[in-house]
């Protein structure tokens, strides 16, 4: 089976005063379709860099990125946009929504970026909102949604382009424990159902009972924490 994401020997450094700070130190990671991988670490551990590299938002100093078997390490900016548009789903922290759009339109926007519109786009948006339990909220704008609902809209939006790889940034940071658990359950469920490879980056250890594969990221080093749990 082709891995949804394969990172090989990735190193990322940032300039920091006169020297360079290592955010990711020669890390490798493989995510299979249907698999949810949680990456836990304190803030500043390089989680965001990991997500940025996998999302083709940041070019690593060295290493190789493959998405669905395709080497995309050195693609142009335009090609990276195209990969994000067609293969990646990004779930942003908290409420990264466009204030003027309703929940349904947030989803339609993704299709518009590819030049798709019309009834089928609308139907797909409604199906996805239904799948995340928000069929009733399709006409609401971001400020009319609760934190948990916003996170669900964010997940539905990331699924709009039928992605190979789902990258999730701190999905529980604005939620209480119970709602956080719900969101993680939702993510692992859609990952399994749609055979997506999913990377969840979080500093929240409490919600990770549902994830089979947990990695910790500390000082740029990625290591397995434990395998188990009972979820997807």
């Amino acid at each position: 089976m082709t891995a949804a994401l394969e990172l090989t020997d990735i190193t990322v450094t940032y300039p920091d005063g006169g020297r360079r700070l290592t955010a990711l130190d020669d890390i490798s990671l493989q995510v299979q379709p249907g698999e949810t991988v949680a990456v836990v670490g304190p803030s500043g551990s390089g989680k965001s860099s990991l997500l940025a590299v996998a999302g083709l938002l940041l070019t690593p100093d060295s290493g190789r990125i493959e998405i669905a078997g395709e080497d995309v390490t050195h693609v142009s900016r335009a090609a990276a946009s195209q990969v994000r548009l067609t293969r990646l789903g990004l779930v942003f922290q908290q409420s990264n929504f466009i204030a003027s759009l309703t929940a349904r339109e947030q989803l339609e926007m993704v299709a518009r970026l590819r030049g798709d519109k019309g009834g089928s786009v609308r139907r797909r948006a409604d199906e996805l909102l239904d799948a995340v339990g928000l069929a009733d909220a399709a006409g609401r704008r971001p400020h009319q949604l609760s934190g948990g609902q916003r996170q669900r809209v964010g997940i539905a939006r990331a699924l709009m382009n039928d992605p190979t790889l789902l990258l999730v940034d701190e999905p529980t940071s604005a939620l209480d424990h119970e709602r956080g658990q719900d969101i993680i359950r939702l993510i692992t469920r859609v990952t399994l159902e749609r055979e997506i490879g999913t990377v969840v980056v979080t500093h929240d250890h409490g919600v990770l009972d549902h994830v089979k594969r947990l990695l910790t990221l500390e000082d740029g080093h990625l290591s397995p924490a434990y395998a188990g749990g009972h979820g997807g």
Partner: protein
């Protein structure tokens, strides 16, 4: 323009404010354009409606510009002019300002003197009669057959012809034979009006006759009142256009900075810069067209209302043309501001980087 339309609706207040500014600017620009055209017509219509295609004036003294009111051309020059290659007809036109006595009061007018037999003379001009403009006839309640007096000489109104004024004064055509007695005090001037055909060379003509000739339309700047007004009014219009570009640019700069997080998210989702730029330009175009159309309609309406008392022209060239210019220049301002979309880095959409 999926996003543009929704943003316009969502941020109604902000866009309405900006739209109001565009309404006012376009109102001003179109009013000024109508007024410029109206004033220009008042200064030049007698010249632009002359049947000739070229005008020749005496060469201006060093350091002075050519001027209708300081040109003096001799009868000899007229004879020479008529013989030149490419000249099918030439006529002398005398110009002076005088008071025309209508009933018991004087009306300021520009006198045009011409031989009734020459091609420049309006139909109806005969010895002992004058031809007056529509405006003068309407203002003074004159009709054909009425009497007026100029410098104590009596004339019959022989014809009323067209909208014709020079230097903001209505034109009264006087037969050339009477000219010497009317304006013999040296305050008059004279130019040659030419009808030219193929083979006419302005430089050869000027050398042979000892004058300076030019196309009728190019001679308008030699009308003192016209060149002064036209210059300052045109400058005001240009400044207003510049202001609108700056205001639009400033608005869209602030607007674009405000939506940087949205733009970062859209780019992270795979939006091309060009898609976002196109969307934002569409937004600016809608704003400019809507505001500009309202302002232009208001100005045209006002202009039509005051058209009787103020010189004001409402036609395509004074409404649609300035509107199109305003929209184009506004789009330049918007484009300069919207350019910054390309500098938004999608990585800022991720949590820790924000």
């Amino acid at each position: 323009m999926f996003l543009a339309l929704r943003d316009l609706r969502f941020a109604k207040g902000r866009f309405a404010l900006m739209g109001a500014v565009i309404v006012l600017i376009s109102l001003l620009v179109v009013m000024l354009t109508g007024l410029t055209a109206g004033l220009g017509r008042q200064s030049t219509s007698a010249i632009t409606s002359l049947p000739g295609d070229h005008v020749a004036m005496s060469t201006a003294p060093a350091g002075q510009d050519l001027s209708y009111t300081s040109s003096h051309v001799s009868d000899g020059a007229l004879k020479t002019a008529a013989r030149q290659h490419g000249v099918s007809d030439a006529a002398m036109l005398h110009i002076a300002q005088a008071g025309v006595q209508v009933g018991d009061h004087d009306v300021a007018a520009t006198l045009f003197g011409a031989d009734p037999a020459s091609f420049v003379a309006p139909t109806g001009l005969r010895a002992g009669s004058v031809v007056i403009s529509d405006d003068l006839a309407k203002d003074q309640g004159l009709s054909t057959g009425d009497h007026v007096a100029i410098s104590g000489m009596k004339f019959t109104v022989g014809a009323i012809r067209g909208d014709s004024s020079f230097s903001h004064l209505p034109v009264v055509w006087v037969p050339g034979a009477d000219w010497g007695r009317l304006a013999g005090n040296g305050a008059d001037s004279s130019v040659l009006v030419l009808q030219t055909g193929s083979g006419f060379s302005a430089s050869a003509f000027d050398r042979a006759v000892g004058v300076q000739s030019m196309a009728t339309d190019d001679s308008l700047s030699a009308i003192g009142s016209y060149s002064a007004e036209h210059g300052s009014l045109t400058m005001m219009q240009a400044m207003l256009m510049g202001i609108s570009a700056l205001v639009i640019g400033a608005f869209f700069t602030v607007w674009t900075i405000g939506r940087t997080p949205d733009l970062a998210v859209l780019k992270a989702m795979g939006a091309r810069t060009w898609y976002l730029v196109r969307d934002a330009l569409g937004e600016a175009l809608i704003l400019l067209l809507a505001g500009g159309a309202v302002g232009t309609a208001l100005a045209a309406g006002l202009g039509t209302l005051v058209g009787d008392s103020i010189p004001f022209v409402v036609d395509l060239s004074t409404t649609v043309v300035p509107l199109v210019l305003l929209v184009l220049i506004g789009m330049v301002g918007a484009a300069a501001a919207i350019r910054r979309i390309s500098t938004v880095d999608p990585i800022t959409a991720l949590g820790a980087a924000r």
